[in-house]
Symmetry: C2
Subunit: 186 residues, 2 copies
């Protein structure tokens, strides 16, 4: 069982989902394509951690709705208690910043501006997810406490928001440093 498998189990504790929905839903948490997810679902079903129900659809292709089993919850619980490995971050921008002296001022600025715009759109996306999670909290009549299923997601989404804000601040600051050192014509 790799990390992604446990992630799929984690998503399935909230509600039963199809492979397609898992592919969409895991995006804010982990980068993975459907070609990774479908085989893992099959292997976890063989292990007895999840089971599926086939739903026939006339307008769209048939789908499989996966549900986590008691055993699945149990192995997930054991895993969650284990210390988390350090995060793995791979960012091309690190190398491009390191080599920034090889670029022209407008290219350097464009590099940072593109990243900033991407971060801003990500931030918006996370804010929407936070709203959806708040709605779910109300719907379930939960309060903000550890045993509420919406609580962990609340923490997680705040983590992403704080990281995105920090990244945007960096871009703004770095663009400022660039403009200070090589003022644009105007």
């Amino acid at each position: 069982m790799n990390t992604l498998s446990y992630g799929l189990l984690a998503l399935l504790t909230a509600n039963p989902l199809t492979g397609y929905e898992l592919t969409q839903g895991i995006k804010p948490l982990w980068r993975a394509g459907h070609s990774q997810i479908y085989p893992l679902l099959q292997s976890m079903e063989e292990k007895g951690f999840i089971r599926h129900e086939r739903i026939e659809q006339s307008d769209k292709p048939d789908k499989k709705i996966y549900t986590i089993t008691e055993e699945g919850i149990s192995v997930l619980q054991e895993w969650v208690r284990l210390p988390a490995e350090p995060a793995v971050l791979r960012d091309e921008l690190h190398f491009k910043l390191y080599s920034l002296w090889l670029t022209e001022p407008d290219e350097a600025k464009a590099l940072l501006q593109r990243r900033m715009e991407f971060n801003r759109s990500e931030l918006q996306r996370y804010n929407l997810l936070i709203k959806a999670n708040e709605a779910l909290l109300d719907e379930r009549g939960e309060t903000r406490e550890l045993k509420a299923t919406t609580f962990g997601r609340y923490l997680l989404l705040q983590k992403r928001v704080m990281a995105m804000k920090a990244s945007i601040e960096f871009c703004e600051w770095a663009i400022g440093e660039l403009e200070r050192s090589s003022p644009p014509p105007g």
Copy 2:
């Protein structure tokens, strides 16, 4: 040529380095082991982007000092100008936070505390690297401007520092939220 190859070229623009030094030096920028780096150096030498000089040592194993070629600088420059792909972040903690309701309060707190301590040690490491970069700036008589080779590293290290600080702030905040919802005995 993959991203890591360009990263190695980037490091080699600052000074000639051995494969071992590259393995150590790339750590703050990208996660990679020596088993990835040595084959890439061989392949880049075949392409003419770097060349090496063998240094015989009596007390330690012989080493190869790699230098970037004109052609290497040129391909790196072309690559740096291309837009940077979005960063890839894979953090187990995301899944563990999502499943936090499966844990006990002290386990949840320990999860965040361990991450916070790791982040703090990383922050210290980056602060040392910033000092070393400042020293290099002085040594070379450079000022903080784009064309100085220390400038990009200055930006990059600030990026890492800001990200680490944001992560530490998140951990502190999240531990606070946990304590609010399930106060510790005392």
